[in-house]
Amino acid sequence: MNVLHFVQAFFSDGAHWHGYDGIPTRLMEHLTYSLEALALAAVIGLPIGLVTGHYNRGGTTLSLIATAGRALPSFGLLVLMTILIGFGMTPVMIPLVVLAIPPILVTTYEAVRSVDPSPVDAARGMGMPESRVLFQVELPVALPLILGGLRSAAIQIVSTATIAAYVSLGGLGRYIVDGLYQHNYEKVVGGATLVAVLALLTLGAFWAVARIAVSPGVRRSG
């Protein structure tokens, strides 16, 4: 009996494909939580990163925020919030968003700040207003790095949303946590496989988005 055997047993059991504890339901739950958290973090992190990067200010503050955000243990925060607020979506969203903001914020800031100054100067010389310099010159050039930051945030959210099953949230982590308590190793390994596959699909999705969204000129030079 090795791990692959358990995985095979999990996926071939028809009972795992239906109902509220079925794979489709849990997968949708996981995706919903992850997308909501990523959207919230992006709404907060992207504008601040773009503006601070454009004006090249606040680097010290941002790196402090990033260090603090990284230092906070997301799992601990999750349990603490659950104890303080009670069960529900809010205590789960707080750690997920706190977790995702630093990579988005810092990468966006670094990406916009380190854009080659000559095209930026050229754009100003042509009379572009600052907002167009930011959105039509700096943003396209910085896009690969910004997407990289969003990607690492997304992967962390997908992983941490798994742990959220411990505080009675749905999602794919349900299988792992329930399986551990029920001493049902088949379920544990099946859940772990699903989460890993979802994380890899996230990687793939970002790769595809980068292929489509990044301008060919930028891709060639990068």
């Binding site: 990284r70 230092a71 243990p73």
Partner: protein, 238 residues
């Protein structure tokens, strides 16, 4: 305040004992990751074609959630500390390899030529020229690996109380004592910040030729940016 440090006896450790355990479970993997990453990175520098596939494999490993990694290992190493430490070592390795490769590659060609002209063999050139110049990049990688490792140890609580300070979270729930959860979160965060600061100090000591302001300092025009690192792999707390 007394109850804050009053650790339930089922954890079999004092507060300080938990801190020691936590540091051991978090730092040993980083050390193991560093020991493995140095030769691997050197191979990637030496054979350029090796780097893209290595980067792909490490990115894929990095995407695997810690809990999934832990539980799959239970079948092989049981519900032990080792089960927590192996994934953390892998994550550290994944963060460190690109950091070291980028650092070593950023050594200017003239510097290498000068070292060769002075009669340095490949080993001495690596140890005395390339590694010291790559120190800022390596430390940048170590900082990310260490901080995330300290944060991730807590998740080990889920696989049979192997999470050191994270175990307090479980006790906080079953004994209905929120202050234990506060204790866990705050202590872990302080440990992470202190470890981070210690690494910055190590960098300042090891690279006396660099400005000590760190990355917060406004960059001087293009020339030498304080800490080159791979931005895509910068964060790891999950």
């Amino acid at each position: 305040m007394n109850r804050f440090f009053d650790i339930p006896s089922d954890l079999q450790h004092s507060w300080l004992g938990l801190i020691g355990l936590h540091l051991r479970e978090a730092l040993l993997p980083v050390l193991a990751g560093l020991v493995l990453a140095l030769p691997l990175a050197q191979l990637c520098v030496r054979f350029r074609w090796l780097y893209p596939p290595v980067l792909w494999v490490t990115t894929v490993f990095y995407a695997i959630p810690s809990l999934a990694f832990f539980v799959v290992l239970i079948d092989y190493t049981g519900q032990t500390e080792l089960t927590v430490m192996i994934p953390l070592a892998v994550y550290s390795l994944v963060v460190l390899v690109p950091a070291i490769v980028d650092g070593v590659r950023s050594v200017p060609q003239e510097t290498l030529a000068a070292a060769t002209a002075m009669g340095f063999g490949p080993v001495r050139r690596y140890a005395q020229v390339q590694l010291p110049i790559a120190v800022p990049a390596i430390i940048a990688g170590l900082r990310v690996a260490t901080v995330s490792s300290i944060s991730l140890v807590s998740v080990g609580m889920l696989i049979g109380n192997q999470g050191a300070l994270g175990n307090l979270l479980h006790d906080a729930q079953i004994y209905n004592r929120p202050e234990l959860a506060w204790n866990s979160v705050l202590t872990t965060a302080v440990l992470a910040v202190l470890a981070d600061a210690a690494l910055v100090l190590v960098r300042v000591l090891l690279t006396p030729w660099m400005p000590s302001g760190g990355r917060g300092r406004r960059p001087k025009p293009a020339a030498d940016r304080p800490e080159p690192a791979a931005p895509a792999l910068k964060d790891a707390a999950r």
